[in-house]
């Protein structure tokens, strides 16, 4: 739509703001970034993400990029992957990283927690079967250690196994020898990370002012 080239019409923003909770200024900035990444096209593809230079050094970049194209993160109760996303999906995925607002009831805070943990869960559960199996968890740890080179594989397996054992002990407790622990379900995941305080940790600062002009100032405002 040609309207997206200039400052978009307000009704679009109002709808997005309601859905994601961002303010208008934040949406405008993110929109600018979206256009920068997509080279002024309307959709983003995986190649656009791969061109971000800083992202190349990140050990889990594949998972991060995949998270943007995962329909489960669009809050539409849909599953599967897409090939390209529009600004709305981009914004919805970004909204997972908004901090909980200052005045929130306990229930709302709980919802925020569940939502963020759901995002993490989806990142681990790559085959969309609702559980994180041992293989998937091993993959996660391997990716984390992927920059260490030679030590990676065997130790990753050991660490993942120990971690899985711990989850099983915490969640299930008592198991017969021939029972099999299928994988980490979402409830177990919630239980596992109960003390993690994710609602205060999984946030980034979304700016209210334009980055390009005030970059210097904001690099120090990480209080």
């Amino acid at each position: 739509m040609g309207a997206l080239q200039s400052l978009p019409a307000q009704p679009e923003y109002i709808d997005l703001a309601q859905k994601t909770g961002f303010s208008f200024e934040q949406i405008a900035i993110l929109h600018k970034r979206f256009k920068q990444l997509s080279r002024d096209e309307e959709t983003l593809r995986r190649e656009n993400f791969s061109q971000i230079p800083d992202l190349a050094c990140n050990p889990i970049r594949t998972q991060i990029i995949e998270a943007f194209f995962d329909k489960r993160n669009y809050h539409q109760n849909d599953v599967g992957m897409v090939e390209e996303i529009g600004f709305k999906e981009f914004l919805v995925v970004m909204s997972h990283f908004r901090p909980p607002s200052h005045r929130m009831t306990e229930e709302q805070r709980e919802n925020v927690r569940t939502e963020k943990l759901r995002f993490l869960f989806n990142m681990h559960d790559t085959d969309n079967d609702g559980t994180i199996t041992l293989e998937e968890y091993r993959h996660v740890v391997e990716e984390l250690l992927s920059r260490s080179g030679a030590l990676g594989k065997e130790t990753a397996k050991g660490i993942a196994d120990a971690a899985m054992l711990e989850v099983a002990s915490i969640s299930v407790g008592h198991m017969e020898p021939d029972e099999f622990y299928e994988g980490i379900t979402f409830e177990h995941f919630l239980k596992l990370l109960k003390g993690f305080e994710i609602e205060s940790r999984m946030n980034i600062r979304f700016l209210n002012m334009d980055t390009s002009t005030l970059f210097f100032l904001f690099s120090f405002s990480s209080i």
Partner: protein, 767 residues
Amino acid sequence: MAVFLRRSSSRAAVTIGVLLLTTSFFIPGASSDNRDAARGGSNGTRGGPGQVLQVEKEQRNSSVHQETHTNSSADHKKPFPVLSFNYDHVRTPFEISLWILLALLMKLGFHIIPRVSHVVPESCLLIVVGLLVGGIIKAIGEKAPVLGYELFFFYLLPPIILDAGYFLPTRHFMDNIGTILVFAVVGTLWNAFFVGGMMYGVCQIEGAQLATVDLLSCLLFGSIVSAVDPVAVLAVFEEIHINELLHILVFGESLLNDAVTVVLYHLFEEFSHAGTVTVVDAFLGVVCFFVVSLGGILFGAIYGLLGAFTSRFTSHTRVIEPLFVFLYSYMAYLSAEVFHLSGIMSLIACGVVMRPYVEANISHKSYTTIKYFLKMWSSVSETLIFIFLGVSTVAGPHAWNWTFVVFTVLVCLVSRVLGVIGLTFLINKFRIVKLTKKDQFIVAYGGLRGAIAFSLGFLVTDSQMKNMFLTAIITVIFFTVFVQGMTIRPLVELLAVKKKKESKRSINEEIHTQFLDHLLTGIEDICGHYGHHHWKDKMNRFNKTYVKRWLIAGERSTEPQLISFYNKLEMKQAIMQVESGSSAKLPTPESSVSMQNVQPKEPVRQRAIPSISKSREQEIRKMLRANLQKTRQRLRSYSRHDLLIEPFEDHVSEARLRKQRAEMGRRVSVHSSHLVFTEHQAESGNSPCRTEHQVFTYDTECPNIQTSRPPDTVRLLTESHQRTNQSAELQELSAKETDIEDQQKVSRCFSDPGPKSDQDRDGSSTS
């Protein structure tokens, strides 16, 4: 009966300590100026009359000695003195040791009486003891030692600060560094000027006889009394176990405001001599602040890097490793003091910079030594500081002025509250996780003053106002430590402030912490702005590629954090099982999940195990499952003076083991096989290790996991088995029933086959 004995023994300890001390003053009958001179105390005016007296006594003593000598040489040969009394030449170390002993006996006494220590924080009790001792000394007529500048700043303060800095939770500190800096710098400035200004206003009141106090003196006073004191904060906060955020906010503020205090103090000291202030002076003051703080940090960082580099080469001289840490840090402190930079910030920077590299290089024993020594020294220092504070209160000349003192206390409180509220309002605009009203209250209430203010007050040269200032400072200190210190715990309970989370350090949390770090960095990169995570990630990468290579010996430099965490965790578990052997509650098979439940089923490969009947196998499995107990059952809350930062380093006494064994013996008669094994494991305490390894024998697909373990762990396990050997022997003596022996034989037999390390282990345990 036992309680009575304990209480009387603690009282006995206390009385012995006090008696010893007073007799040591009484018998030699010389003044204590000797000791002050040895320490280089700065109480020049006070020492005057005392020194004269001392010299006279010396002359008298020497003349008496001469007389006896001449007499004896004139009469006959003196018989060889079998026993002689010469106290003077051991006087100084003797009295120093006696003071320290007294301090420690007091501490011991307080902990034996649980009732009092729950209500009153230890710092208050120690000050009271100091008051008593000071009263006794004054009654005797001796001169008490005074908490002078050099004693305090060069000997008593550094261990506490080094302890705090070395074990600073860096992650939390860095996450909140902006808030902490704002509180420390802006907050202290506000406090100093507000208190100084208000007190000047108070001094103008007619009828208060304070007209001689000018503005600069008031500002000087304000700058002394406004700084939050790290010693007092540590002493009080460590007992209330508050959540990490608040703890690091108040504590970090108390550490970082040292730079501001140093600059302000010197500034006003200079100005009060000059008399006037110009704009240039003010500007230079600001520049001075930056120089002092950044210079201090730079000194600390340099010494820290030196220390880390030195530790890279100490693999052959493990015994002196701890000394390097202590000496480099102390040198950093002293070097900063030479240039009038902030010694505290230098010390903190040194500890923080040194720690990750040193810990990767030094042996485990050196690490334990460093930790124990730091805790020990800081504990002793803190105790001595509070006792001396009490003693100095009784000893010093006081000039009590009702108006001045009362208004000081009030104004200090008001300025603290206003400062915190105002600053939080500003800070919350920039914080992601905002500070609530409760947080603000605790931060304001936790602004305790302490011995630093007192020692700085001692340096004021104008004697007339000095006494008045000192009295006011002491009153403020007493008020904050006693009133605020005692009431903060019930207030924390009342307001239901979040307490410190018991640290679990599970491997899942570690994985997710790392994962989250990378995730947030990635999202920030996608968003395109360089935030907190971006810079942290950049620094980590820089650290890994360049710095670690230089400062960490061998291959550990390339070890990623997750792997080193995992190795540490494994070793901790192994050590814990060996050392503790029992936990707070009797081991119960709570989690019976083993690896086979988690591993996907695969076709069983051929194993060289003698065939066993199905029922036997079931029994074995049951026993093995019973072994897999939770390894982190004991939860410790954080206390600075307990050496329990890691939960496994608890020393289990022999008596406790015996008691547990007796209880186990009772249960054996009820359940035969199941609990026999738990008894065995409870006392040998190595079952999770054994189970872990044995569990892996059932795991068909990764028997090679053992080869990938670092050699340290294997050595450690064989070491541990020698110890369990002994306990196994003891236990076998106590085991009466024969079927227990049978079961043990069975278990040994069936654990024999399998990979090599299993055989080593089981071979050693067949005693």
